[in-house]
């Protein structure tokens, strides 16, 4: 990973993100987006993040890409608690507790 690679990503991503944020606020008076655009934008976060996480959960680098019961269980608990409580902090705490408990128990074998 070269310095040029890192800096290019930081600067271009920074400018791009800013332009996205400025987009409609930058227009004079603020105009409404067409409904079909809004409809797609509503799903961007749930379209990108689950796909990013799925391989990390199923094939973690830490175990050389092998499915790991502790990590898989921690992911399911995090997700379940997040769905049930709608509380991100509670979900992280529950997932973390599951991960450490299982890693500790499985380390015995």
């Amino acid at each position: 990973m070269t310095d040029a690679y890192i800096w290019t990503i930081i600067i271009v991503l920074g400018i791009g993100t800013y332009l996205i944020r400025l987009s409609f606020l930058g227009l004079i008076g603020g105009r409404d987006l067409p409904e079909w655009v809004l409809r797609h934008l509503r799903y961007t976060a749930v379209a990108v993040l689950p796909g990013l996480v799925a391989p990390l959960v199923l094939w973690p680098d830490a175990t050389g890409g092998e499915v790991d019961p502790a990590r898989l269980a921690a992911a399911l608990v995090t997700f379940g608690v997040g769905m049930a409580t709608r509380n991100a902090i509670l979900a992280i705490l529950a997932g973390g507790a599951t991960l450490y408990a299982l890693l500790w128990m499985l380390a015995g074998y």
């Binding site: 800096w7 993100t17 105009r31 799903y43 961007t44 379209a47 973690p60």
Partner: protein, 237 residues
């Protein structure tokens, strides 16, 4: 009853923004730790958090950088994570679009999920607020979060080496993302979009240049929008 001043609305926003530090600070520390682990210098890491200033996309970029993905793919995928902010921008413009350009330009830079959400909630509850009161509340709500995002990134850089192996930090990112995603699944359309994203990302993980995630995200977005249309059509008598 005396009329509240913009100054008091700034502090009202500030108080509304403080609880978000519970999410923002650990997340920023983690970013600092992981960036340092990946070999970014302290200057690069702090620049990353202050220039990009968008947590989820920073983690997405970092993950792809760790996989040595090409620059274009890293940027395109991380920007896709941030596309939702165009929607925030559009709905904020309805309420503060008449403010001076430099005010809007600054508001755009500091706009993050949480401050957007509390501000829009207030604007909708209290449509009688003046423009300057709305602007004051918005900047109040981002005030605790902004400096702490950058400061906590620095803290992460500093404590990074002290974190022991058994803490399995590799799994902190998936857990954080899952905790963020789960509460977002508000409707069938959101759930179907998320499932599409997962299945396609796994199925296409062999594609070169980490293109799989980008393709999965674009398809999942279209699927979510389409399900929403179908559900709305079905709900009509």
């Amino acid at each position: 009853m005396t009329r509240a001043t913009p100054k008091s609305w700034y502090w009202a926003g500030f108080r509304a923004g403080v609880p978000f530090l519970l999410v923002v600070v650990p997340f920023a520390i983690l970013f600092g730790v992981l960036a340092a682990e990946l070999g970014l210098t302290p200057v690069q890491t702090i620049a990353f958090s202050s220039v990009v200033f968008a947590g989820a996309s920073q983690f997405a970029a970092l993950q792809l950088m760790a996989e040595n993905a090409p620059i274009l793919i890293v940027i395109a995928t991380a920007l896709a994570v941030n596309l939702r902010m165009a929607m925030y921008s559009a709905s904020l413009a309805v309420w503060i679009g008449k403010a001076p350009f430099w005010t809007r330009a600054l508001a755009a830079y500091v706009n993050v999920d949480q401050s957007y959400a509390v501000s829009i909630n207030l604007y909708e509850d209290r449509p009688e607020l003046t423009l300057s009161e709305r602007v004051a509340f918005f900047f109040g709500a981002v005030s605790p979060v902004c400096p702490m995002w950058v400061a906590a990134t620095g803290l992460g850089l500093w404590i990074g080496d002290a974190i022991p192996e058994w803490m399995a930090l590799d799994f902190a990112v998936p857990i954080c993302f899952l905790a963020i995603i789960a509460p977002m699944l508000r409707s069938l359309a959101h759930v179907v979009a998320a499932l599409t994203s997962i299945m396609l990302a796994l199925a296409l993980s062999g594609l070169p240049y980490n293109l799989g995630l980008l393709v999965a995200a674009l398809v999942a977005m279209a699927v979510g929008a389409q399900v929403e249309v179908l559900m709305a059509r079905r709900a009509k008598p």
